[in-house]
Structure formats: structure tokens, C-alpha cells
């Protein structure tokens, strides 16, 4: 059930990212829904789930972009593994720790992604800190909302069933 949920979340995130990116083309790095999904999977399944989901969607993202295949995969693998490991060691269920996780994950992803491109001499990123900060904030907000929605679903369904049973 957990695996099916993770696969659905990642596929949805990929579809959403490829559909929405073109509408926000003017803002560099405005949002990375796929990264949000990787962090979500890592926090709910652990380091292995986070790492594997990061690898798969990272590589898919790379092949759908025009960059070097593997750089995004490597960045998301690292993020998935570390977030998963952190989530196993500490309690990350309150809003503030989750917010910190999403912000830290976005920052780590950006540092690895851009760092590799710069180290390999493939691209230059001029003062990207503003873009990273805005992406971290947007990712965190989307992540927190997603967590809240997903966690409220079982209770909402239960209440609905209860109301139907009461009417009969």
C-alpha cells in the first residue's frame, strides 16, 4: 500500500511538474514538485524508499530536460537517502520540523545540482541564492499542504462513512 502510494505520488508530481513549468517559465527555479514528492516518500518510507524514488524520478527528470542525465538523479538520490535516514532517527511529524526538512532538502538539492554543473564546467549560475531561497519556501509550503491533505484523508473518509451509516 505504501509503495503504491509512493508510486502514485511520484507519477503525479512528474506530470504536474511538466505541465506547470511552462506557465512559470519567467521565474528561475520557482518550484520543484518532484523534489517535494521525493521528500514526502523519504519521510514516509525511510532511506531506501527515499533513495530509490530519488534515483528514478531524478533520472526521468534529467532525460526530460536538456541537461546531463544523472546530475539531477544524483542530487535527488542524496536528498532522498539523507531525508529518509533523518526521518528514521528523529520525529518529523510536526509542522516546524517538516518545514525545516523541505527547506534543507531544497537547499541540498540545489547545492549538489548546481555544484556538479559548475565543477564539470558545463554551466555558470550567477548569484542563484535568491532563486534557491524562493524555491525552498515554495517547496516547503507545497510539501506542508500536501502532508496536511494526505493525513486528513482517512479521517474525512471515516466521518463520511459514519454519517452515511447514521442516516440508515
Amino acid at each position: 500500500m505504501k509503495i503504491a502510494g509512493a508510486v502514485i505520488a511520484l507519477a503525479l508530481a512528474l506530470a504536474l511538474q511538466t505541465t506547470l513549468t511552462r506557465f512559470a517559465v519567467a521565474g528561475t527555479g520557482a518550484v520543484d514538485v518532484v523534489l517535494v514528492a521525493v521528500v514526502y516518500v523519504a519521510l514516509t518510507t525511510g532511506p531506501v524508499g527515499g533513495m530509490l524514488s530519488g534515483t528514478v524520478v531524478g533520472l526521468i527528470q534529467d532525460t526530460l530536460s536538456s541537461g546531463v542525465v544523472g546530475i539531477g538523479g544524483l542530487a535527488k538520490t542524496l536528498v532522498g537517502f539523507l531525508v529518509g535516514a533523518f526521518g528514521q532517527q528523529f520525529i518529523v511529524t510536526a509542522t516546524l520540523p517538516r518545514l525545516v526538512m523541505f527547506v534543507a532538502a531544497t537547499a541540498l538539492h540545489a547545492v549538489v545540482f548546481m555544484g556538479l554543473y559548475v565543477a564539470l564546467g558545463l554551466r555558470v549560475f550567477e548569484s542563484p541564492w535568491k532563486a534557491i531561497a524562493s524555491q525552498a519556501l515554495v517547496n516547503a509550503v507545497i510539501g506542508l499542504i500536501s502532508f496536511a491533505v494526505i493525513e486528513s484523508l482517512p479521517g474525512a473518509l471515516e466521518r463520511r462513512r459514519g454519517r452515511r451509516g447514521g442516516r440508515r
Binding site: T18, G27, G46, V68, G73, L120, L122
Partner: protein, 282 residues
């Protein structure tokens, strides 16, 4: 069974995945060949998903609009938009030709110009990564598209085809960090190269320090890169700085609004007189 349980081999698995990525990246960075097969196969497969999701989104949006708008007026409006688009492209060509004629008055051998042959395509998706500026379109090699064909819109230049598959193609937008186009100032004919910045603007490089340029000048394609046909509008100079005898920090506002692209035209054959390679025309 415990030996096969990957949850007990997390460290080794992590190491293997990281090494795999490094090998993958190294292989690409070292080689100077064309597009990786993995990229082409994945893009080809995912383009179908993008096509399906674009169709779903398109049909939902269309249904919504049809419900609230007067259908007849909408169709008439679409026809008029298409006509305006064609006329705008025609106008750009005529304007470029007029400028050229003015500066080359001695040349009396005028040649007749025909419009470039184009294929209309719909945008079905965008880059999965916010750091790259690409879009996916619903036309591919089956419709006559090939790599490096230029992509335009009524407002101006959009980009070029970088990965054509049978039923879809990936287009690198001109605002991508790795994109470039040979260009010139329409008024003074000063030539340079327009470069993408990865943000919403463009910049221009390799302009001679003595070039006559000013804020508000229109920048058009020069055609010498053998990708973009000559005379198509790229954008307008928004700001510039001159330092130590040469220009620096030329900011160009693109003519095309890349955030609202829905359909584009792919130049499949060039008109006579342009520098697009003959082997690309069909």
C-alpha cells in the same frame, strides 16, 4: 531471504546507486556525440504521457470555455487570430526585407521571396526541471521535423528543435542558458550573438564596440547560424552599458511571451535567399 532484503543492505545500495550515477555522468561529459539513447527513449515514451495529459487538460479547458462563451464568436476569433498570426509573420519578413533593401541600394538583382514552409504544432509539455527551458510539441519526424529546425511564433523566435522523435519533439527555448542565435540590430545592421540567460530575458554578445545601438532597438535573426531564418524578431533592447570601449550587459526583452505559449510554427523549409542548409529543407 535476509540476504536479498535490500533494507538490510542500505549502505551498499546507496553506494552502488551513487557510483552508477557518477559513471553515467562521466560517460556523457566525456563523449561529444549526439543525443543519448536513454534520453531519446525516455522522452519518446513520456511525450505520449504529456500528450495524453495535455489532451485531458485541453479538453477540460475547452469544455469550460465552450460552456460560458458564445461558440460562434470564439471560432471566428480563432480564425482571425490565425490570420493575424500569419500576417504578423509576413510583416516581420517584409520589414526585414525593407531594411536590407535600404542598406543595399546598389544591388539591383532583387529576388522574389516566398514564405518559409512551416508546420503548426501544439505545446504539450515543458521541461521537467526548472533549470532548463524546454517545451514538448506534438509534432515529430513523422510530420517532417528534424533536429535544429527553428521554431517561431507570431510574435517572434521561440527556439529550435533539439530532440525530434516520431510523434513529438523537444524544443530548446531561446531563453535557455545554453541557447544562442546569430542576430543583428534591425536599424543599424550591427551583428552579434543573442544568448539565453535562463531567466525571462536575453543578452547579446560579440557586438563591436563601435556598433550603433540604443535602448529600444529591435533585435532580429541574422541567419548566419544556419538555424534561424533571417529577419525574424527576437526582442527589443531593454538596457545596455558601455564600458572600456565595448558593450556589456545588454538586456533584451524577448518578443515572445514564453509563459503562455500554446501553439508554435516549426520552419520545415526555408524560403530562397536564407542561409538555412539545403539538406534540411524538404
Amino acid at each position: 531471504m535476509a540476504l536479498l532484503d535490500i533494507r538490510q543492505r542500505t549502505g551498499w545500495l546507496f553506494l552502488a546507486v551513487i557510483v552508477g550515477h557518477i559513471v553515467l555522468i562521466s560517460a556523457q561529459v566525456n563523449s561529444r556525440r549526439g543525443v543519448p539513447i536513454l534520453e531519446e527513449v525516455t522522452f519518446g515514451a513520456f511525450a505520449e504521457v504529456q500528450r495524453a495529459s495535455a489532451q485531458v487538460v485541453g479538453s477540460v479547458r475547452e469544455g469550460w470555455q465552450n460552456y460560458f462563451a458564445l461558440q460562434e464568436i470564439r471560432h471566428e476569433n480563432a480564425d482571425l487570430k490565425q490570420r493575424v498570426a500569419q500576417l504578423e509573420i509576413r510583416l516581420q519578413q517584409e520589414r526585414a526585407k525593407a531594411e536590407e533593401t535600404r542598406t543595399l541600394q546598389q544591388l539591383l538583382s532583387l529576388h522574389q521571396e516566398t514564405a518559409p514552409s512551416t508546420a503548426a504544432a501544439n505545446v504539450i509539455g515543458a521541461s521537467a526541471d526548472a533549470y532548463f527551458r524546454t517545451i514538448s510539441i506534438d509534432k515529430g519526424t513523422a510530420d517532417g521535423l528534424a533536429q535544429d529546425m527553428s521554431v517561431i511564433a507570431p510574435a517572434g523566435v521561440v527556439g529550435r528543435v533539439i530532440l525530434p522523435t516520431r510523434r513529438a519533439a523537444k524544443v530548446q527555448l531561446l531563453i535557455d542558458r545554453n541557447a544562442a542565435a546569430a542576430a543583428m540590430i534591425e536599424r543599424s545592421r550591427a551583428q552579434g550573438v543573442v544568448l539565453g540567460t535562463g531567466t525571462g530575458t536575453l543578452t547579446m554578445a560579440y557586438l563591436p564596440g563601435t556598433a550603433d545601438i540604443k535602448v529600444g532597438d529591435r533585435v532580429v535573426t541574422s541567419g548566419i547560424d544556419r538555424i534561424y531564418p533571417k529577419g525574424f524578431l527576437i526582442g527589443q533592447i531593454e538596457s545596455l552599458q558601455r564600458g572600456a570601449g565595448e558593450f556589456s550587459g545588454i538586456v533584451i526583452r524577448p518578443a515572445v511571451d514564453f509563459s503562455s505559449l500554446e501553439s508554435v510554427l516549426v520552419v520545415t523549409g526555408a524560403p530562397p535567399g536564407t542561409d538555412v542548409p539545403a539538406d534540411r529543407t524538404r
